[in-house]
Subunit: 434 residues, 2 copies
């Protein structure tokens, strides 16, 4: 493999091409190191907008971009599409499914996924939302539920087809619930003949006593009011005890639903465990103040996979924290390579924003709190601005403007497994098992 930098300079291996990994790679572009970015997928994903693919507002290509195209002009960096199977900290080697990479510095940024709290079988009935494939699967299920409703003569089954349960009222759950209500009431309903869109039911289940738990209590209350104004049933302090083909159990109560989506819990990527270092309860790596791994000053963990407590509060698993930690770890690697000491990471909270639907959102920046149309506008501007490096910025903007003006959702395709009732495509068609 040709390399434009002499092989003697330190080799930095970055595993993961999300916000944290890509920011770190870009921060090292002028450092006297050679960088290898490894990812299982060829694309970086703008995860904050993934729910828009799941709800048919955007195309996958609008929010994903090839990693090697992002790093195209960075001469000291190469990109490898490969699966990482293990890490040998003693030998300083990353084991790939089809080879290995030795490193001088390692930066692990493989993120987190949802946790089913030990009930992994629930994933079958209640998919989470982390990848493009997840989003397309959710889109397929949601659109297929309306198709099933159109042809359902049995009233109870019809109600199940038109009931959507979202588990978890963090930002993703709130966004999904709002978008589902809008898709059903405003967009898709016009296309169907045999059911009343007003019978659509979206149930948002949250174990805590409020939606958006990390937000200020007044915003949680505002978000709940906005959701309820849209028609979403918000169930607080409710624990899911069982999920199967017929829907969800909340203790003794059974919600008969064809479509259940999972937006709760956090589980660090399995590669965190492979390090053999202390993890927190969610399987994230407890790092040193400089983001390195205890006992391994040349190994850094950043983004959603890191566990950091600052001022008594955990640093949240959000895109700004991923970007800031990626940049901080890259600077520390550059410092070590130059024989200088590392510096502790300091998370700067730029504020939080969650959108609930058409012209509805809540946000907080420092002590400032806002909601409604203005918050939605701020959300919109920030997300457009952060699509930096995406050639599709203009297309996304036009798509959104169009959706807003027309109440339409252009990406309403059922692809993948398609529609095959013979293959058990109608989970809600079975009888409840108590």
């Amino acid at each position: 493999m040709t390399s434009r930098v002499p092989a003697k300079v330190p080799h930095v291996v970055i595993v993961g091409g999300g916000f944290a990994g890509l920011t770190a790679a870009r921060a090292l572009r002028r450092a006297p190191v050679r960088v290898t970015v490894v990812d299982r997928r060829n694309h970086h994903l703008f995860q904050p907008l993934l729910y828009q693919v799941a709800t048919a507002a955007l195309n996958p290509g609008d929010i994903a971009y090839p990693i090697r195209a992002v790093l195209r002009h960075q001469a000291n960096t190469r990109t490898i599409l490969a699966r990482v199977d293990g890490i040998d900290l003693a030998q300083r080697v990353v084991h790939l499914a089809d080879g290995e990479l030795s490193y001088d510095y390692l930066l692990l940024a493989t993120g987190a996924s949802h946790s089913y709290f030990g009930n992994d079988a629930w994933a079958n009935w209640a998919p989470g939302l982390k990848t493009i494939e997840d989003a397309l699967e959710i889109r397929r299920r949601v659109l297929s539920a309306f198709e099933a409703a159109e042809r359902q003569p049995d009233p109870e089954q019809l109600r199940a087809s038109l009931t959507f349960v979202v588990v978890g009222a963090g930002p993703t759950g709130v966004e999904l619930a709002g978008a589902l209500m809008e898709i059903g009431r405003l967009t898709v309903a016009k296309d169907f003949r045999s059911f009343d869109p007003r019978t659509l039911r979206v149930v948002l289940v949250e174990a805590a006593d409020r939606v958006l738990p990390p937000y200020h209590a007044t915003l949680s209350a505002k978000a709940k009011a906005q959701l309820e104004h849209l028609g979403v049933e918000v169930r607080l302090g409710a624990r899911v005890t069982r999920i199967d083909a017929t829907g969800v159990w909340l203790g003794e109560e059974h919600v008969f639903a064809r479509t259940v989506l999972w937006a709760a819990g956090v589980a660090g990527s399995p590669l965190g465990r492979a390090l053999g270092v202390p993890l927190d309860r969610a399987g994230r790596v407890s790092v040193q103040p400089d983001l390195s791994v205890p006992g391994h000053p040349n190994v850094f963990v950043v983004g959603d996979l890191m566990s950091v407590v600052q001022d008594g509060k955990p640093v949240p698993g959000v895109a700004p924290a991923a970007i800031q930690s990626g940049r901080a770890a890259a600077r520390n690697i550059a410092a070590l390579a130059a024989g200088r000491p590392t510096r502790p990471f300091r998370y700067f909270d730029k504020g939080s924003l969650a959108t609930i639907g058409r012209a509805k959102a809540v946000g907080q920046v420092g002590r400032l709190r806002f909601s409604g149309y203005f918050a939605w506008l701020v959300w919109w501007v920030i997300h457009i601005a952060y699509l930096i490096g995406f050639r599709n910025r203009l297309v996304v903007m036009i798509g959104w403007a169009w959706n807003y003006l027309s109440f339409g959702r252009g990406a309403r395709l059922i692809t993948g497994r398609g529609w095959d009732p013979a293959a058990g495509d109608e989970p809600a068609a079975r009888t409840p098992r108590p």
Copy 2:
């Protein structure tokens, strides 16, 4: 199921939501009939641009649109997402996978797919291009081949990774070969570090003695010259005798290739056979001059599934023929419903256009023949104009303009099965079996 038209009016069942089926449905919007459109998929596909999804220039949502959204405002029509398993002409019943539909008039528009000439196992190594899923699978294979090349130390395997064989030099094959050459030379190559994009090899194999066989001989020659100018190897009078993990055999000659695409042959949809009426060699239904099935004046076959000879030449399987036949059959159904006689179908050849690459195309309209930049411009304008009913028209236009200006391809995502060498994702990595 509610119906806004009294149930006594004749019931027209249209199977297939492609150009022919949708045109027929729209042509019946004011006829005193009720119409049911049945399709296995929820979307109409603008098939002439499908190769652009396969070569990462467009997103699936740019060229597909929900059938029921197209027919939203048509009060006498409903849309059903269902798989048709059989047709009982005597009982006038369409058997669905999960139910049945009785009809007074039946219009069959289920199209055609590729024919592997009895070698269906080749489909595994050489996918065809008929559905969104086909296009995404081809995109996955093409982009994965470049990724494999980036990490391939063995020179022979590297050559195989960078060799693309397209079988069949009809419009689809020509478009694919041209786009592959451009994607490799202009777009993707800039992102990779370890191979020379000039070593990319695209081989276009055609059994006939010229490319674009239905076109005038001078245009075939022009198209061949344009392809060769791009760098495509055009192999005429060449027959594929075997395809496997190592590539393609043309008689004794073995072309060692990781990626083989199939764009040859025509096979009528299996539902044609289910009718139990005479078929042509390609499995298409030989219809009467009014497009009805012999012996069943209330059953019509249109689009790519029909076999019609006019002025001694077969009517080609192209979008304009599908649109015209769909409209003609719908008029004949309306005539029969009103007690009037049917009229024979007359295909009006509006001309043909095939694009070869960036600013390269050939076209003929009547006796007029043109090629090069002007032909490409005409192709572009016509395809934009025909995206009627697609909300994404503007997005497609911007996407294309952007591609043209930037030489970029924004939809370069490897999705679906993803990258998994352990799952045998590297067919060219095996040794040739002679």
